[in-house]
Symmetry: C4
Subunit: 276 residues, 4 copies
């Protein structure tokens, strides 16, 4: 979306681009804030419409609001396609797909009634707030989170897979011990219960009744209470690594290498003396 | 509240200031401890009065206790205003507003019965304990906590906002899957349930009944169990940074080596004596 | 399983070994993936068979699937024994025992009906995925997890034992306070409830009814909420140590300074070239 | 309990001391293990006796077991007093008081029936296992845990106190919103519910019914989900500090100062060159 050759800044497309994509100009900022407010109203309207008592009284008004917003979203979507040089790049980008999915359900609802709930996908549009607030260091923080999570991705996958296998085995054991008469009606239900217990959620819709079942439950709980340390430890270690790497912020004047030790006097890459 | 010019230490205002604001003199210490005990009694009285069985038997006595405390708080509030040179600075300070809010409900209750429960705001006054215990390093610890939380504020906001958007989307999915017949009566209720599940609280007042709903629930639980690592990792990393920052910051004048121990007298690298 | 002397690569045993044990050749890779799919189908079949409504309709088909898989597992097990030079080493290895236990229940079920649920042990075979994915760094990550957990083993044991003793004592106190009339029917049940509460699972099948019982419950909850920090802190510290250990371990030959960056070529202290 | 002057090793008291207090001799080791087994049986007997169905069948046998153990404990307690030089030091030590409390309930039970449940205090005696296993590094690990917890004591206190004040205020708000008709019968009950929710236990015995109450609940849950990071971060930071401090294990040959930096060449305290 970075434009290589400057277009005539007074052309319609250029002005549209400024308003829709650039949050640094007053017009662009106004547009972004207005958009966020409209998305918020849209999400609230969908949520409220699902409440029986509200729908009975304000059903018609909510329908009107949703149609107005849908038309606005449609125009905005078309505007976005017009304003960029490579429309397909936008259409198949993450935000492009979300924008499309946020626009279409109301039209589909004309053909297939009941599909209106898919309007909830609009909630994802709220994530635009991060782009609007890019002036502050929100995006940086978000990226740092993402990087830390991505770096510990493999370990988290190994951990999660082991936990799932553990839950299948422990769930089956609970099914054998407790049986359908105590609410553990099948192995899938038992595995569901085991995950509910291991993650310390503990709904209490199914509870062990036999002493042996309670003993195994206790083992599951203590396990869950203990192994939560693993993802926490992984992510914390990642965050720490990040911290340690970014302490010395200067780059070598000779070779440009960065990330020196805090107490480095010479560049670790070329041996040149660093500025103190 | 630091006083620039010493007043006549025998004047009424000076003595009042000593008693109310200075916790280092015997009189001031006594006042602070007495105040804390009275606040505690006040909070207990409000709590006990809300218990039906207690109110029936001791209702009158509790009313008397509350009025006595209210009058004491009123006098203390007036005293605080008199004792300081810049009364408005006190009145609009955090503690000034809390003190006012802790005094007023009983009087308001004469006009609007039922507003007595707002006396609970007095609980905030218990935080005065930190000021009273300032002799010890309580305040320092509290500040350190505050600093760590403030520094990771932006990241926590990004994290929280993403989680809320996630909960809206997952809540809507659960509403579509389970529907009103299984207790997911509306999208707001579903979102509420999703947050209850994601935070691993798990009341169990609403539980999924369909296999697909249970599968999505499991995904929500595992997500909640996993992403708790993010705030924990953030705050831990902040605490750690704090630790590292407080190490000895001076560099050796002889060889320039840094990161000496806090109590180091000689450079660990060349043995030269460090500047104290 | 590393073979000292190369066998005739065209012999039956050598080819069998290549297929079953070596995931790097196309045939071996195909075998491993096929095996994983079959294990997955096997686990799903056992789980589905336990669901009443599914068993009624597809009971016969599931029986057929399970017998086919059992026969395949039998052949595979025999194949594994033939293909290795030291069969006993395989038979008594972790995977050998799991493979045996995953094969036998169906045969035992002919003699003792109802033992079919033990087929769930097959879920453990899913852990083979880690061996299949060894091309990537899954195994490394898994090992790192294991090492971190093993290193903090003693501390975790001390912690766990202390928590159990605490739960016995607090459980007995709750039994004394609440008594059988409020659901705390015996000390074992009370201890079970205490662990449910301390680990923040909170089923809600038993809840305190007396004010004193609720007060002790609150103490248990806050304890549980607080001491979760201990295993988390232990494991995180282990992970961190791990990170620190993997830093560049060499010292400068010129000035002896250590803790160089992993990719450092020059000493950060004196600028001398480091040995690669 | 370290003895200054060696007594005649063949005297009765010396031999008694060896058996009871010294876990390094075969006799002492045997005594310690036997004691642990008896304590375990004792705890199990008390737990089993509280189970209605077990008491009806084995009530008499359990009584006999408890009396035998009580007599053994009495003899052991007398033995311990005889074997040490300063009996009062033992009697008022932590273990001395626990030993006394573990012995007395059965005798008191003769006078006041029903006090038998206090036998549960014997569970604390199980902590003796740490002394018995002192050969291994259990005690060290336990001490390290204790030191880390003790060092972050003040911060944990500040944190806990703030959380309690928060819970009183939020509990009162929930009482105002939901009221007795929805199960929030009084402010103490509301505060209890708030702590149940904040610690993510979530029994589900009381749940918010109004939309506003559910909104405040969500705030409480997210708060609880987030601030668990604080104790975790504190303890982790303590554990880490511990790790960093203990890396260099050598002491200066000149002045005896320890805890040098890992890459220290000279003592930070006296400037003497350290042994590499």
């Amino acid at each position: 979306m970075t434009r290589i050759k400057p277009e005539n800044p007074q052309s319609f497309r250029a002005r549209l681009h400024t308003i829709i994509y650039e949050a640094d100009t007053p017009a662009g900022k106004l547009f972004d804030v207005a958009l966020l407010v409209i998305i918020l109203i849209s999400v609230l309207a969908v949520m409220l419409e699902s409440v029986e008592s509200v729908r009975r009284v304000y059903g018609y008004e909510l329908q009107v609001v949703e149609w107005v917003i849908t038309i606005f979203f449609t125009l905005e979507y078309i505007g976005r396609i017009i304003a960029v040089r490579k429309p397909w790049a936008y259409i198949f980008s993450f935000y492009g797909i979300i924008d499309f999915l946020a626009t279409i359900p109301k039209y589909v609802g004309l053909l297939f009634p009941g599909s209106g709930v898919f309007l909830a996908v609009r909630a994802i549009r709220l994530l635009r707030i991060f782009r609007i607030l890019k002036l502050v260091n929100f995006v940086g923080a978000s990226n740092q989170l993402m990087i830390a999570l991505r770096r510990s991705r493999v370990k988290i996958a190994v951990f999660l897979f082991s936990v799932i296998v553990l839950c299948i085995i422990l769930g089956t054991i609970m099914y054998i011990i407790e049986g359908p008469s105590n609410g553990f009606t099948s192995i899938p239900t038992s595995v569901y219960w085991t995950i509910v217990t291991l993650t310390t959620v503990g709904f209490g819709d199914i509870t062990p009744a036999t002493p042996l079942g309670q003993f195994v439950s206790v083992v599951i709980m203590v396990l869950g209470y203990g192994i939560i340390a693993v993802p926490t430890g992984l992510v914390t270690a990642e965050f720490m690594k990040d911290k340690q790497v970014h302490l010395n912020t200067q780059a070598c004047r000779n070779c440009g290498a960065a990330h020196h030790r805090d107490d480095a006097e010479f560049c670790y890459n070329c041996g040149a003396r660093l500025k103190k």
